[in-house]
Amino acid sequence: MPNQSAELFAPEGDMTHQDPKAPGAARLESSLESRYRKLLHAVPDAILEVDQEGRITILNEAAERMFGYTRAEFLGLNVETLVPAAMRSGHAKHRSSYAEHPNTRPMGTGLELQGQRKDGSLFPVEISLSPNWIEGSLHVIASVRDITGRKAVENRLRSLREQYTAELTLKNEQLEARNREVERANSLKTEFLASMSHELRTPLHTIIGFSELLGEQLEGPLTDKQQRFVGHILQDARHLLELINEILDISKIESGRLELKRESFDFNACVEEVMAGIRYQAATKNITLENKNAFHDSLYADRVRLKEILYNLLNNAVKFTPERGRVWIEAARQGDALHISVCDTGIGIPEREQPSIFEKFYQVGDSTAGVREGTGLGLPITKHLVELHGGSISVASQPGKGSSFRLVLPLIQEQAA
C-alpha cells in the first residue's frame, strides 16, 4: 500500500517506464492527479506524509533536495531519522500528542526546530502539520521549510542590533562619565568660588573696617591728604568687594546654579526700598530721584534679585548723570507683563556702543570720562537676572540727553508657577 501511493506520487521523470509522448501518458499528463503531482513537486518546501507508525509514505522533490535522501531511501524511513538525535527521544511523544488533537498548525511553536540531513548535518526548519485520515488511520502531512537563509538574516540582524546596542551602551556610559565629570568640575568650581570669595572677603573686612576707623578720626586727626588717602583705600576696597560679589554671581549664573526664589511681595514697597538705598548717592550730586510707579499690586518674583536689578540700573543712572540731573523709575502693567523703565538725564550711550553694554567686562569708552569705573559686570548680571525671570531688557539712549533702560517682566501667578 505505501509503495502504491509512493508510485502514484513519484515525479513524472522517474516514471521511466512511461513515455510522456505515448497516448497513455498524455491522458495522465492532463489528469487532475498529474496536475496535483506537479503542484506538489513545484513547492520549494519539503512535503512529507507520515503514517501512524511514523514511516514516510509520500514525499516531494524538495524533500529529497533538502534532506539528501533519495526517494527510495525515504520511503518507509522513520520520520525520526530526520530529527536531530538530541530531540529524537521527545519526538515520539509529540507525535502521539498530535494524534490526540490533530489539526493544522505549526509544529513546536516558539521552539528552534532543526532537521537532520542524511550526512548528519543540521539545519533550521519551520514545520507545519496537517492531519490526513486515510481509511481510519491518521497520517500526518508535514510541510518542512528550510529557514537557513532567514535564520542567517535574523542572526545577522540580531548581531548588528547587539553590536549597535553595545556601542550605544558604551557611548552612553562615556557620555554619563563625561557628564559626571562636568558636574564634578562645576561643583568644584562653585566650591572654589565660594571659598575664594570667603578668603577674599576676610582681609577686606579688616581693610575696610580699619580704613573706616581711621577715616572717622576717633584715633586722632588726619591731615587733608591723609584723609583723602584713606578715602581712596576705602573706595577701592569697596570696589574690590563689589567685584568679588559680582564675579561670584556671574559664575553662579553661568554654571546654572543661580536659582530664583519667587515670592509674592508689594512691588512699590520694593521700589521704595531700592530708592532709599540710592538716595544718599543721588543727594551728593543734587540729583532728583523720583518714583513714578503706577503698578501697586503684588508681584510674584525673586524679591532680592529684583531689588538687585533695580539697584544696578538706578546706581548706573546716578553714576552717569551729571549734577542736578534727574533719575526716575516708571512702571506700569501692559497686558500680561510689567513694564519698568529706569531713566536718567545723564551723559547717554553712543548708539554704536549700545549693543555691547550687556557684555561682560564691557566699559563704555570715552563717554564715561570722569566717572569712577565699575566692574563691567553689573549690566550682564542684570540682564541674566531679568532673563531668569522670563523677561527682557533693552536700552534707548541719546548721548548728552540721557538713557532709559526698559524691562519687560511677564506677570506670573503664584499658583501657576
Binding site: S197, H198, R201, T202, H205, G209, E212, E219, N245
Partner: protein, 123 residues
C-alpha cells in the same frame, strides 16, 4: 558695663571689633577659636556674643548649639559673623538659633547699631 565676647580666629578682626566696641563703652573679651569661645562664654556669661562661623576646633554653629543648651545662654543675643556671604547663609544662621547675622565686611555703623539694638532689647 556691658560685656561682649568676640570670637574670631583672625587677630586683626578681633582688634578691629574690640576697638570699635570699646569706644562704644563696652567691656570686651576675646576668643581665638570655637573651643575657647565656648569655655569663656560658659565661665563668665557675657551680655552679647559676636561669633564667627568659621573657626578652628569648633565652628560657630557648634558653639551656638552648645550654648543654647545652657539656660543662661538660651536667649542671649548671639550674632553670627561670616565672610562667606552666600545666599541663604542668613536664613540658615537665624534658623539655627542666632539672634542676628552680619556679613563681613561689616560696615562699622551697622555693627554699632546692631550691637546697641540687641543690648537694648535685652534689657
Amino acid at each position: 558695663m556691658k560685656k561682649i565676647l568676640i570670637a574670631d580666629d583672625k587677630a586683626t578682626s578681633r582688634e578691629l571689633l574690640r576697638t570699635v566696641l570699646e569706644r562704644q563703652g563696652y567691656e570686651v573679651m576675646e576668643a581665638a577659636d570655637g573651643e575657647e569661645a565656648l569655655q569663656k562664654a560658659l565661665a563668665e556669661v557675657p551680655d552679647l556674643i559676636l561669633l564667627d562661623l568659621q573657626m578652628p576646633r569648633r565652628t560657630g554653629y557648634e558653639v551656638l548649639g552648645e550654648l543654647r543648651k545652657d539656660a543662661r545662654h538660651a536667649t542671649l543675643p548671639i550674632i553670627a559673623l561670616t565672610a562667606s556671604a552666600m545666599r541663604g547663609d542668613r536664613e540658615r544662621a537665624l534658623a539655627a538659633g542666632f539672634t542676628s547675622y552680619m556679613a563681613k565686611p561689616v560696615p562699622l555703623v551697622q555693627l554699632r547699631e546692631e550691637v546697641q539694638r540687641l543690648l537694648q532689647t535685652k534689657e
